[in-house]
Symmetry: C2
Subunit: 470 residues, 2 copies
Amino acid sequence: MIIDNVISREKQVADALTGICGGKYVFTGADDLYGYGKDQTLDLDFPFDILVKPGTVEEVAAIMEVCNKHRVPVTPRAGGSGVTGGALPVNRGVVLSVERLNRIIGINETDGYIIVESGVITADMCRHAEERGLYFPVAPSSAGYSMVGGNVAENAGSINSCRYGTTSQYVMNLEVVLPTGEVIWTGANVSKNATGFNLTQLFVGSEGVLGIITKVVYRLVPKPTHDVSLLAGFASLEDACNAITAIRRSALQPSAVELVCENALRMTSAYLNEPLPLVEEGITTHLLVNLQDFTEEGLMHSMELAGNILEQYTAWNILTGTTAQEKEKMWKLRFSIGSALMSEGRKYRDIDISVPLSSLYRYIRRVEEIAASHGMPLACFGHALDGNLHTMLVLNEDTGEEETENAARAVNEIYSYAIDNGGVISGEHGIGLLQKEFMPMQFSGPHLQLMQQIKQLLDPNGILNPGKVL
Amino acid sequence: MIIDNVISREKQVADALTGICGGKYVFTGADDLYGYGKDQTLDLDFPFDILVKPGTVEEVAAIMEVCNKHRVPVTPRAGGSGVTGGALPVNRGVVLSVERLNRIIGINETDGYIIVESGVITADMCRHAEERGLYFPVAPSSAGYSMVGGNVAENAGSINSCRYGTTSQYVMNLEVVLPTGEVIWTGANVSKNATGFNLTQLFVGSEGVLGIITKVVYRLVPKPTHDVSLLAGFASLEDACNAITAIRRSALQPSAVELVCENALRMTSAYLNEPLPLVEEGITTHLLVNLQDFTEEGLMHSMELAGNILEQYTAWNILTGTTAQEKEKMWKLRFSIGSALMSEGRKYRDIDISVPLSSLYRYIRRVEEIAASHGMPLACFGHALDGNLHTMLVLNEDTGEEETENAARAVNEIYSYAIDNGGVISGEHGIGLLQKEFMPMQFSGPHLQLMQQIKQLLDPNGILNPGKVL
């Protein structure tokens, strides 16, 4: 008879977490864990030991204390919509899902902010604000299923970022559980704050490696009452890029300027396989422009200015959408690119480089050359006015060794070119697991060391989201 | 005969700095040091040993290495316009003035940014940008003599902050010399960046205790082509505050909403002693509103909306200024408050609290009560829409012991009230020397400890701007 008196570390932790959250919210069975080992990054899926779904900040803090004591890795998880692997439990251990921290705590209309827990679906928060006449302008395209905690952790961008900035500019204050289990509010719910170091922005974009965000206070703004979309078709990418530069140098402040290059246009129209506006011979490139204003006159003025610029740079044709139906039609192709990239046995390697706008055209051409030289199909599209184009390498779902190696070589060359030309390896998707090998290419030794020291300071045992960013 | 073979530490450091910068830029004589031991904080003036004026980032780095080796305090100094003592050399040692780092390195009109050294006068940079059709919207009132390095170090605000935010929102990238002499660029010159921790914002507002800013890359925006100022006189502060709240809840996005309370109004009009608009019986409070737009029609629309709100909240009279001359007249009183506070044997204790707008009226009334209970004269004015009011305690230039104690008691009560009501002790002037004793009132233990640990990490010998913030 063998006496089983050695209880595994995992069992001890699971028992402790059950003591904290109740058995209903601690899971160890394969069925319950299913889906929590992956996000939207390639087809990666990692095994792990325990899934926990705390319901309060106190529970999150207690979980961190236990996991610190047992040196068990904790991977925080919000909507799981990330594409760089930030939510993947690469070192097993515990996945901490914030999905039950899903309360909209309140909105303050006079002070112009909303307080939400980090597991609130972004679109739910936006709707809550808009029903009260306020506007969160930088919801990412994933708003329907991403959560605010993930948006903040990744400093998510939006198609509106060229006018409104990114998530970071709306975060007034955060409740964060530090890796050691301490809880702090990083800022205050005021418009202006010059009191102490800006810890709020240290946590924004830190991808869950410095702390677990449990509450977010977002600044809200008035929503423009009038808006219009323009879809311009161009014969050449160069013309479209020149139009974008001219828009930037004008007085226009469009709320979106989205570029769809020929490769993405062809792939997505084939995928949709239906009549689409300005998908016709002679047009290789789409430029989508959204304009907003508080008055009809202001909007008309902007439309005229935008129309003149697009015509001057020889747009083949320009469509205008004012009704919801017209806009939906115009934006359909742009918003279907993601699905097209994952259809018909395909997946994609996310590339989210941000370059100075003045380098954008050259950057796209260089990426095309690099991809072609490795025989990799490519889809280029995205936030052109910000210089933040997604230049996705298209892969077969069952990637072979040669394809994997080709992709790795192409990525390396693309990142190297972008960095040499003043770009950064992520504009809005973060570093996560996928890009961390390129951090030494991006940053100087002292810079990287400082980031490592900050991580070490906050997470001395290295248990929070290990294997990411650094 | 005494052999003087012990060279003082100060002499060794001065010699080393001379080796770095040349004798022309290292000073130890009282005449040369005059004025560098003070800024605009009360009448504080501290003795120190060596003044150095490096001309390049390499010189700044070498200075830091030397001072680290000798454990000599270094107090960085830009324009010396601070009012919380951030540039005061409280532990003697070296004052490092960035005044020779005064080059405008370049402006990139397509990418919309400007690169300047930290010793550039803010107004010079603004002029340079505007000549090229670009706009830095958040220059502080001190722009004529403050320098960009100081603006960034303090996260300076502006009367335009209610529309445009503070300095932090325009900083894309910084060149920083760390206390140990390492040099890093904190970010990149791109619009969107989700690559690694946000070290840029860690240095913005860190008040020269984490590193010395040597270059700044500022994002620029298009400048609205039309603007107008409105000056409204109110019979009561409460009406004015209600009007401010209504402006916030409207679709207006004014570029300034400045409040001048009765105490500041009376003191400044007496100081100016000339006919001033809306300084008349029945009016106790001024509200100045600035509106900007890219079109005449948009501006007219905003003016109508603003006028309606001001009338609804029973403004006694409303003046409109469109020409430079009209505007100057309307803004004269507001911009003379600082001079009035330092005239006729007066000085002031800066109070720069920022509260939620919804608490503003109650906050002002409470400060008035506290000041009155200690017999302290008061001047309340400033950035009302941001909830960032300057509620200055007026002191005699030759402050007696009783007055000093009274002021200290009043400050303590005011800070305590503000913090209890969701406010912060600085909206835009920083902590510096003057407010650091209140940091434990503002922050929780773990929060304060984290800031201290970050300071310790970056400046292990505690030589950079010691005695400030923490």
